[in-house]
């Protein structure tokens, strides 16, 4: 047995019943079998042979091929995306029909609603980042289009370096200059953004900042596995889609009607529910878990569980209530969010 031993090859799944529960862990809970099986050969994983796993089940603990020295960073990839390439891409290969079918949500021309309901695609904000010949970036916000062909023509004409998607507004966003503050967001998918930059304190593969490699990319698999279960089982969301961001992370789009109609406070509450922060917080937002925890510690208040009764309140309301009124009757023991935050209706 050498210190540089290969990871033991387990033929079956890790037995989830052996994972210790919150009560005392006993030696019987630990399976000794894993320690005795050793694989001295490298097994390449062929994705096509891997059976699909239940999202909530434990994955098979299979040996992972040794990491290659591939990395993705802005310095090692092609230095720039040229305008001619982008033009060809937008002319032939960008899937305008996907964007239109998705973001119209069944409304608009040829819809089953007969044109009576709001054309959601028309009310959607698109934003373009365009690079002019002097290499300056021009940012065009509040663009909106009535149809797929209008959208395609605009994109092919502008050839943006980047396209961003915003909310569905009360009016077509192109009317921003006339409406001003009367233009308000009414719906938006619940989105998640996970970047490997936020894992720099625990990445020991040599990558930092925008650099990624096959080793640290696995954090994204962990993220998708955990969040899919939470979003499906705890919130009942079904229309989830993850996208590769192109460089160092993933974006999640949750498109259920209940998710789209979440208010800003509701989104904050859901995002905080999905957040568990035991590491040093770099965010200065003040609304993150550790910010609230520090606020609680300063106020030296202890609260007991509020329970899942009719006493529901939003995260925003509770925070302002605690800070302003110092409620002594409400007793929740909170060390971190999301232990006992109960969400408002959504």
């Amino acid at each position: 047995m050498t210190i540089d031993m290969m990871f033991p090859d387990t033929e079956g799944e890790v037995d989830s019943t052996t994972i210790p529960r919150p009560t005392a862990v006993t030696s019987e809970d630990l399976t000794p079998n894993d320690e005795t099986k050793h694989n001295t050969t490298t097994t390449l994983i062929d994705p096509s042979t891997q059976s699909p796993r239940a999202v909530s089940g434990a994955p098979a603990v299979t040996p992972y091929p040794p990491p290659s020295h591939r990395t993705i960073s802005s310095s090692t990839e092609e230095p720039s995306v040229t305008a001619p390439l982008l033009s060809l891409y937008y002319q032939h290969l960008f899937p305008y029909d996907f964007i239109y079918q998705w973001f119209r949500y069944g409304t608009g021309t040829n819809s089953s609603s007969g044109g009576n309901s709001m054309n959601l695609f028309l009310h959607r904000e698109f934003s373009f980042t365009i690079q002019n010949p002097q290499k300056d970036e021009i940012y065009l916000r509040y663009q909106s289009y009535a149809s797929e062909s209008d959208f395609a023509s605009a994109v092919q004409k502008r050839c943006p370096m980047k396209i961003d998607i915003g909310a569905i507004f009360s009016h077509p966003p192109v009317q921003k200059h006339t409406l001003g503050s009367a233009l308000t967001p009414i719906e938006r998918e619940f989105v998640l953004d996970i970047d490997l930059t936020d894992y720099d304190d625990i990445r020991n593969c040599g990558c930092q900042q925008a650099q990624i490699c096959p080793v640290c990319w696995k954090y994204m698999s962990m993220a998708m596995a955990t969040l899919n279960v939470a979003l499906r089982e705890d919130f009942g969301f079904h229309h989830l889609q993850w996208f590769y961001s192109g460089r160092r992370g993933i974006h999640g789009w949750i498109c259920d009607a209940a998710a789209k109609t979440l208010t800003d406070a509701g989104r904050t509450a859901v995002a905080n529910y999905l957040t568990v922060r035991l590491h040093f917080c770099h965010h200065a937002c003040g609304l993150c878990a550790c910010g609230l925890f520090d606020s609680l510690r300063t106020n030296r208040m202890e609260f007991l569980s509020w329970g899942h009764s009719h006493h529901s309140f939003s995260y925003m309301t509770v925070r302002s209530t605690w800070e302003r009124k110092r409620i002594k009757t409400c007793i929740c023991r909170i060390r971190y969010i999301p232990t006992f935050i109960v969400l408002t209706r959504f």
Binding site: S27, S56, Y64, A167, C216, G246
Partner: protein, 271 residues
Amino acid sequence: MHLSYPLHPYIHRAYEILEPFFIRDVIVSKKNGGHGLLYSEDQYMQVLNLLPECAAVIREMLQESWSTKKSTPLERWNDLKKHISFFIKQGNFSSGRKNSTEERSKKVAKTLHVNYEDEKNRQLLEIFCVEIVIRYTYPRIDINVSKMRNHLLKSPFCVHPKTGRVCVPISKTEHRTFDPFAVPTISQIVQEYFAATKAAAPDSSEKGDDEMVISKDPASKQSCRHKWEHTSLYPYYTKFQNEFLIPLTKESLSYQRQNVTDRKDAVNMDF
């Protein structure tokens, strides 16, 4: 900062999901595709130093054992769990330090005839392994992107300006096997597209780029609706259509139809 005790069911479920990843992808050595958390000494000392003071004896024992005896990261993880469980059973959680800051909790503990400090230490030890797994694997979302409705997010299917890679959808069957290095770049797919065009109709190459001249052979991809079907984007986009877009569109259309039916019924007073 610590997790609260008892563990919230959400945390416990996250731990059950993440522990296999932790064992496979975090504690093993870099050669085996991990971060070496329980492989190299400087890494495992970071973990042992997170043990509460009352368990200093575990830290010393394991440090000595792991530095002298050769063991795999999995054996070390199991060792750590075993030692913590035995330590909890023997019941001595005194850290020898006085904690005088939380008077109210002490009064509560006193009424329950429990040594507050010992009880706190026991709780920290019970959830220690869960904390380690959560600390090193739990997803870190950028909350600023999620909390505001009018926050812009990069559109799917765009090209990243710095890397040239396309923002492709990740199929739900490939969450664990998705390879960002295999994602096609813009130059690659443009080349593939024009190679396919040329191969499909080699004698019509002067016709210009905006005509996709498909081979006259019906067995070929003459029925391709999309030009990306001739590129490496094909597997990503077809799965996206089947797994996400079609179900979403169906549900949206039926919702709209239901809305129209309800409105008509309301007008006709037909309930």
